[in-house]
């Protein structure tokens, strides 16, 4: 090929207003209905992560999460804000899911099977495998809560998953001719990915949830220095510098061990997959090391499946697990056995992992009820619980829990208007009070990047703009200040439902022909250097989505065009009593005096030529003093011609 690719940097210099070729990226951020406003840290929102990005004319939905705190339509994003009449397929170019947590993928079957999105959905292989398990797990909870309407079925989950296109790490996937995406490792949970979205020269990176420090089974998040126009980052721990996860793990093991030692039972409510496996590894290793004999049970029957996936996706775990995989698979647990409901009544210590994770129904609740009365026992809540669940209540210190299940007259404690405790006979009720004597512990094991980690990622990716989501407003404000100060870039933190528009100055690549470069060099120009932009002249050809700068001759040849010369003419009248030849001579002399440096000729055919400008003179038939000057010039000397006129 005679073409050599050079980057013609069209970035504006100086005043931004003068940028003729700047383009705009619309980045609509809408965590539908989730509220960032809070009181003392408890009002943060978990749920309905759903961001719409418009870039280079493409609309991409990033995550499609649900909120577990509602039983009605409010648990799902309201897609009518995007487009009405359910024409999501027409509007969206693709949906990308960052990881399998329900606040990032829980509304996906609703969107694809009930609202009617039929376009491509992207997620990593592990996320595709694990997502249905969690969606099924959650579906069970909703079936448990009667009166549920407008909820997806198992068939819908499967049909939705059939639409999913799996992503490999670091593999560029072409969604269409213009839109491409690339996944990067995000840590956080198995299969979690950050995604680089590119349309032409514009790009966005969306982090989903990520973790910049490796943990027991996962590695740290990593990304190329891809310099996106916008980096959309989660900011759950925007101002926190978290203690190392090791400390939390040590604390966890210590508490479990102490309880076991005193003959108590430990209940760990979990969701089917994710944190459960992480804690299983922790206990398994500890049991092995300490040679403990107390049984560990996993209640859901999903252990095998979960472990299967962890084994299958071993490449997604950390280096240590991958290295030792051949000798011993970390996910083949020796000490953890399947649970039978009758074991709950067995005497002696034991540890049980049971679903669901918020103690609102099912096996975990049943075991909790059995064990709650004994102060030797312990419940460890490894994750957040929404209001309206027993998990939420015990985490807030409630020790007398109203439980369903007994027809009796109960005495209820209440406070009257004067804030004094009183008692009254409650009406006949199906409820009874459960006295919670067991120890309640909360240990967050979720792996998010803290403030330090977020700054580290910015350093890695070098974005031109930053957008913070999935966090608490006040904390994000603090981090925003830090980012703007340290990196000197714009940082945005739009509220839910707000649209943020970020202006970018994209580089438009142009190919330049070798001939043109040679010609420039022959004229004494410097060698091409991408670091030293300079002006080049040529003909710009836009053909099949590419731009090329070639010599005019080559352009004519390539496009099959004939060359035509365009000449401009004008007629000027002047009054001069001299003869025609004298007048012409006088003009010639005058031009000679004012246009020094130009080639001026007085030709024998009574014309004067200035460069390519031709001047002819004739007299008017009626009045010999009136001379008519005929001027003709080509496009190349247009400036000179006008000045002469």
């Amino acid at each position: 090929s005679s073409l050599r690719r050079l980057q013609a940097d069209s970035r504006s210099r100086g005043d931004r207003k003068n940028t003729g070729n700047s383009r705009v990226v619309y980045c609509t951020v809408s965590h539908f209905f989730s509220f960032f406003f809070s009181l003392q840290g408890a009002g943060q929102d978990v749920g309905r992560s759903c961001i719409l990005v418009s870039i280079g004319g493409k609309n991409i939905m990033l995550d499609c999460g649900m909120h577990m705190g509602y039983n009605d339509d409010r648990r799902f994003p309201d897609f009518s804000y995007i487009t009405q009449n359910g024409r999501l397929t027409e509007f969206l170019d693709c949906v990308i899911i960052s990881h399998f947590h329900l606040d990032h993928c829980g509304a996906l079957p609703y969107m694809s099977e009930m609202v009617g999105y039929d376009g491509p959905i992207y997620m990593t292989h592990p996320t595709k495998a694990i997502c249905p398990i969690l969606l099924e797990d959650f579906r069970k909870i909703t079936v448990d809560k009667k009166g549920e309407t407008n909820f997806f079925t198992s068939q819908m989950i499967k049909d939705c998953m059939k639409k999913v296109i799996p992503l490999n790490l670091h593999q560029t996937v072409q969604v269409d001719d213009e839109l491409e995406i690339k996944a990067y490792y995000a840590g956080h949970v198995l299969g979690a990915a950050m995604v680089h979205i590119k349309v032409g020269s514009e790009s966005v990176v969306y982090t989903g949830d990520y973790n910049m420090t490796p943990d027991r089974h996962l590695g740290a998040a990593w990304i190329d220095k891809c310099r996106p126009d916008i980096l959309i980052s989660e900011s759950t721990y925007a101002t926190t510098i978290r203690d190392s996860k090791r400390c939390r793990e040590r604390d966890f093991l210590k508490k479990v061990h102490e309880t076991i030692e005193r003959g108590g039972k430990v209940l760990i409510p979990v969701f089917a997959l994710g944190r459960a496996q992480e804690l299983c590894i922790l206990l398994e290793t500890f049991w092995e090391r300490m040679n403990l004999k107390a049984p560990i049970y996993f209640s859901t029957g999903l252990t095998e499946k979960a472990n299967h996936y962890y084994k299958l996706f071993i490449t997604w775990t950390n280096q240590k697990i991958r290295k030792t995989f051949v000798q011993r698979n970390m996910f083949e647990f020796k000490h953890i056995k399947a649970f039978d409901r009758s074991y709950a009544d067995n005497p002696g210590p034991m540890v049980v992992f049971a679903t669901p994770g918020m103690l609102h129904a099912g096996q975990s609740l049943q075991i909790f009820k059995k064990w709650a009365g004994n102060e030797k026992n312990m419940v460890i809540m490894p994750g957040y619980c929404v209001q309206g669940t027993i998990g939420h209540k015990i985490l807030n210190g409630q020790r007398k829990l109203e439980m369903e299940g007994r027809l009796s007259l109960t005495k209820k404690l209440c406070r009257n208007n004067n804030n004094k405790t009183c008692s009254h006979q409650g009406s006949e009720s199906n409820h009874h009070l459960l006295d919670v004597k067991l120890q309640v512990e909360y240990m967050s094991f979720s792996a998010h990047a803290d403030a330090k980690g977020i700054m580290q990622l910015i350093r890695m990716a070098e974005p031109r703009n930053m957008l913070l989501v999935h966090g608490e407003a006040a904390k994000m404000e603090f981090l925003k200040g830090k980012i703007e100060q340290e990196f000197n870039i714009n940082c945005y933190m739009p509220a839910n439902g707000e649209t943020e528009t970020v202006t970018t100055n994209p580089s438009v690549p142009v190919d330049i022909s070798l001939n043109l470069l040679k010609r420039e060099m022959a004229l004494g120009g410097p060698l091409p250097d991408t670091k030293k932009p300079r002006t080049m002249h040529g003909t710009l050809i836009m053909k099949e989505n590419s731009l090329r700068l070639v010599s005019p001759e080559q352009a004519l040849k390539e496009l099959g065009l004939n060359e035509h010369q365009l000449r401009f003419t004008c007629r000027v009248q002047l009054q001069d009593p001299h003869s025609d030849s004298d007048t012409l001579h006088r003009i010639y002399t005058h031009l000679k005096s004012v246009l020094k440096g130009y080639t001026i000729q007085h030709l024998p055919d009574s014309t004067v030529m200035v460069e390519s400008i031709v001047i002819k003179l004739s007299s008017s038939a009626e009045d010999p003093n009136t001379k008519v000057l005929l001027l003709s010039w080509s496009y190349q000397v247009i400036d000179l011609s006008y000045s002469q006129c």
Binding site: F35, L39, N71, D118, E178, T236, H360, A361, N417
Partner: protein, 911 residues
């Protein structure tokens, strides 16, 4: 309202009013508001029931340091309380109303920038605007102007809410015409239920209407809004598109609900702006503008009306716009909205068919403007617009073919031909001679999006008139798609769906046999080994669906398509798929097997070795498969088989019956002990069928009163899906009316003894089959749906025995005993029974199991109480208002009283 809630509310208000105190989580305030809204809707006066709310509001609205979410909540609550006239007066007298909704106050405090305050303000106003006094307040305070400004708020939620309120004001207070009043009275005569709800004051609408007719306030608001619409509809510069868009949305909302006087006023005012907008041809506004015009058109009464004529002209202009991409969107909108006037519809059809006509070279349109054709051709050369236009075109083709012939430029069959041609082009199978425009064709070859749209269109076209003529071509194209190695999984799935649909309408499948059998079998075999589980699953699903597709040429001659085409090849293929590595595929295979074997079950054919092998494999899956989907499907397989057996009029061969009953026993014991809740639930459905079979005619009226209607027994051709939620209505006991059941006419005494024995035998057989054990095990299951189902069935069984009208019958039946194992569910049941002092048991010498009388156990289990509990939501206790109030208080206590509870802050991260 619950007394306990009333008692707690003042403290909750204190907590909320104290800025800085923590709330349990972000949903609490919304849930609290839900509760108040519910109370108000039920007719309670919030001010009377919760007097502390007044103090709460007056404290919070002056406290600009309060948390914005609490302030927002307060604004909404204020509006809710002011929804009743009494509440409004009270709040006004206390000057709360003016203070709460004073925008300047919030702006000065720097809080107005917070979108949640603006949302609170708007939603509060929306709740309040239920009576003339509120309207007066709105006008007095000039809030309409603010609402119009908020229409273009940076927050989508605020902007949308503002539009909703503006529409509500005009529509709610609009004067009704006399016709409307009459219609409303008639309606109320039919469904009158006098609930005096302060916020849904439908009953007072007529009075309101009369009051409003002459109301200056209403006229002022109408004028302000319509004038604003008039000005804001046409964007003055590019930045104003958002404003125009919002105004168009508001106009569409208004026109959809406005009655004649208001509708006329609105249309008259904005008509000029709409004309300007149509002329300007802004692509971004095409769809919302079409929405407005079509809504206006749907209200047009007569063509003689000048406004109506103008609207119609505007619609015509939209369908003459010069930009083809806008044009096709506008045409699609006409069809989507079901607009039916011959001029516009025919025009829209022409526009929608043009891209198909150009690309496929099929003459779909006899006449069309050359200019338009040229511009569409040019646009089709660009890949993006080509795909987008074709998809819109394809989506509308099925509807086009169903339109009256006058609307169509060509016979429907030509449209089917064009879609087929397009599909051929997309897959690269079109002969070059038949391609319309080769340049544009390159854009769509191998494009999955167009392929999917085309296949969906083809599926829907199966019912189009004239479609049958193309049957053979359709099958050829679909088989080509299935054979194509480049077809992606979603394309394969859609091809199968289309195939099933077309086979369903094929009246003479035998004529297709030669064409299809070989190719179809080959491709199915190939796709069963596809590396993508999605493809394997779709293939298996297809085989299952094919098993349920029957066609008939004559009324008495029903042909199963699967048998006709694939003969006996299906079952071996499916048996092989039982070993698939993906559980979804295994589950679909089991379901497909049930659908395929349904015919032989129905015919009562003798069991074959192949069927015996299948049963062995399925029972093995039930006991060993690690995944729930496959196990659920196994139980449903046997349920379907048993259901077919019970409803079969033909005698079942003894081998088949014996194999079935033996299997059912295993399924019941394994299924009820499964770890998956849906396997257990499906097992109970099987138990229900067994109960039904064992106790025909003896069963009393059904007492599980929550089953409102008895659905028909499912036919094998519409089996519930293997993943369907276990519905109590899927398989129900055959209902027998009380009159039929309990009538023991004189003269039939001779039968009594045998009936007594029948009942005892039936109960005994239920024990033997494991039905009673399955039900008892389900009763104490921790998964609520399982417990509920088991409880209902046990109650039915108990009542059936109990309702025996002779002591002898009862005595015989009560002698039947069942065994309770010493561990697991047996121990749970024993615990319940042990609380009853009078229960008798017979202990086993071999293990620690005991035997109890079935009837005695059923009477002592407290089934009615249990049912009352189980029929409620599992979270009804902890999602109650009382629980919410307690949570708010306990969170606050946790934060204010150190030492009461864990020092560690609960981090709200993810789940």
């Amino acid at each position: 309202m619950d007394r306990e809630c009333v008692a707690l509310l003042p403290r909750v208000c204190e907590v909320l009013a104290e800025s800085g105190k923590s709330l349990p989580d972000d949903t609490s305030l919304e849930k609290l508001l839900d509760w108040f809204t519910g109370l108000a809707k039920a007719g309670a006066s919030l001010l009377e029931v919760c007097p502390c709310l007044l103090e709460f509001i007056s404290t919070v609205i002056y406290n600009t340091d309060a948390d914005p979410s609490v302030l927002s909540f307060t604004l909404k609550l204020t509006g809710l309380m002011a929804a009743s006239e009494d509440g409004f007066k009270m709040l006004k007298e206390c000057s709360i109303l003016r203070q709460a909704y004073d925008i300047q106050h919030w702006q000065d405090a720097g809080l107005w920038e917070d979108p949640c305050i603006r949302i609170g303000w708007i939603q509060g106003l929306r709740s309040m605007l239920q009576h003339p006094m509120a309207l007066h307040f709105l006008v007095e305070t000039d809030f309409t102007r603010h609402l119009l400004q908020l229409q273009t708020d940076a927050s989508l939620f605020v902007a949308s809410a503002a539009n909703q309120v503006l529409a509500h004001i005009l529509v709610f207070f609009q004067p009704l015409s006399s016709d409307d009043v009459e219609k409303k009275e008639e309606k109320e005569m039919r469904t009158y239920a006098c609930i005096k709800a302060p916020i849904a004051m439908d009953t007072d609408i007529e009075h309101l209407a009369v009051a409003m007719e002459t109301s200056h306030e209403y006229i002022a608001v109408t004028t302000a809004i319509s004038d604003h619409l008039k000005v804001s509809l046409v964007p003055k510069e590019n930045a104003q598109f958002h404003q125009s868009l919002q105004s168009l949305k508001l106009l569409a909302l208004l026109l959809a609900q406005a009655k004649p006087p208001l509708e006329d006023t609105l249309l008259r005012t904005v008509l000029g702006s709409l004309e300007a907008l149509v002329k300007a041809e802004y692509s971004q506004l095409t769809l919302p503008l079409m929405d407005v015009l079509l809504t206006a058109c749907s209200h047009c009464n007569t063509d003689e009306h000048v406004t109506d004529q103008t609207v119609s002209c505007l619609l015509s202009s939209m369908l003459d716009t010069s930009k083809p991409s806008d044009l096709i969107q506008a045409a699609a909108a006409v069809l989507r909205r079901g607009h039916r006037d011959i001029i516009h519809s025919a025009k829209a059809v022409g526009i929608l068919l043009l891209p198909l006509d150009i690309i496929t070279g099929q003459t779909l349109l006899s006449t069309h403007s050359e200019e338009q054709r040229f511009s569409v051709e040019e646009l089709l050369k660009s890949k993006t617009s080509c795909i987008s236009m074709l998809c819109v075109s394809l989506m509308n083709t099925p509807q086009i073919t169903l339109m009256p012939p006058d609307f169509l430029p060509c016979p429907p069959v030509t449209v089917v031909t064009a879609v087929l041609s397009l599909l051929r082009i997309c897959s690269g199978h079109a002969p070059s001679s038949s391609i319309g425009s080769s340049k544009t064709c390159r854009n769509i070859i191998g494009n999955g999006k167009v392929q999917r749209c085309g296949l969906e269109a083809l599926t829907a076209l199966s019912t189009s008139p004239g479609g049958k003529e193309k049957m053979s071509e359709v099958f050829t194209v679909l088989i080509q798609y299935l054979q194509n190695p480049d077809s992606d999984p979603t394309v394969i799935q859609k091809s199968y769906q289309a195939l099933v649909k077309w086979m369903g309408v094929c009246t003479d499948i035998s004529s297709m046999r030669d064409q299809l059998t070989q190719d179809l079998l080959e491709v199915v075999k190939k796709r069963m080994c596809d590396m993508h589980w999605e493809v394997r699953d779709s293939t298996v699903e297809f085989l299952g669906q094919l098993g349920g597709v029957c066609t008939s040429t004559k009324p008495d001659q029903v042909v199963c398509v699967s048998e006709a085409l694939l003969g006996c090849s299906t079952v071996p293929l499916l048996i092989e798929a039982l070993c698939d590595s993906e559980s979804y595929v295994r589950a679909s295979t089991i379901s497909a097997l049930a659908q395929t074997l349904a015919h032989s079950w129905q015919q009562g054919a003798a069991v074959t070795q192949e069927q015996t092998d299948i049963v062995i494999r399925l029972l093995d899956i039930l006991s060993n498969d690690t995944e729930g989907f496959a196990r659920r499907a196994v139980v449903q397989y046997f349920t379907a088989w048993f259901s077919s057996y019970s409803s079969n009029t033909l005698p079942l061969s003894s081998s088949s019956s014996s194999l079935l009953m033996k299997s059912v026993h295993s399924v019941l014991s394994q299924g009820s002990a499964d770890l998956d809740w849906e396997v257990k639930l499906h097992t109970l459905q099987l138990a229900q069928l067994l109960l039904d079979k064992a106790l025909p005619g003896l069963q009393g009226s059904r007492l599980d009163s929550d089953t409102h209607t008895t659905p028909p027994t499912p036919s094998l051709n519409n089996l519930p899906h293997p993943y369907a939620v276990g519905s109590d209505q899927a398989y129900t006991l055959h209902t027998h009316t009380g009159a039929q059941t309990h009538t023991d006419p004189a003269g039939e005494g001779g039968c009594r003894e045998s009936m007594e024995m029948d009942l005892a035998d039936a109960v005994h057989s239920l024990v033997e089959q494991g039905v009673v054990s399955a039900l008892l095990s389900g009763l104490v299951d921790c998964d609520r749906p399982v417990g509920l189902k088991a409880c209902r069935l046990l109650r039915t069984l108990r009542d059936t025995i109990c309702l025996q009208d002779t002591p002898a019958a009862l005595a015989t039946a009560t002698r039947v005993a069942c065994e309770l194992p010493g561990s697991g569910w047996g121990r749970e049941i024993r615990k319940i029974l042990e609380k009853k002092c009078d229960w008798s048991k017979c202990e086993s010498e071999e293990d620690d199991s005991v035997c109890v009388g079935v009837y005695e156990a059923l009477r002592s289990l407290g089934l009615d109480e249990k049912l009352a509990i189980l029929t409620q939501s599992s979270d009804h206790v902890h999602n109650s208002p009382l629980s919410l109030l307690q949570d708010i208080l306990s969170t606050s206590d946790t934060h204010t009283q150190p030492g009461t509870q864990p020092g560690q802050e609960v981090i709200v991260d993810c789940y």
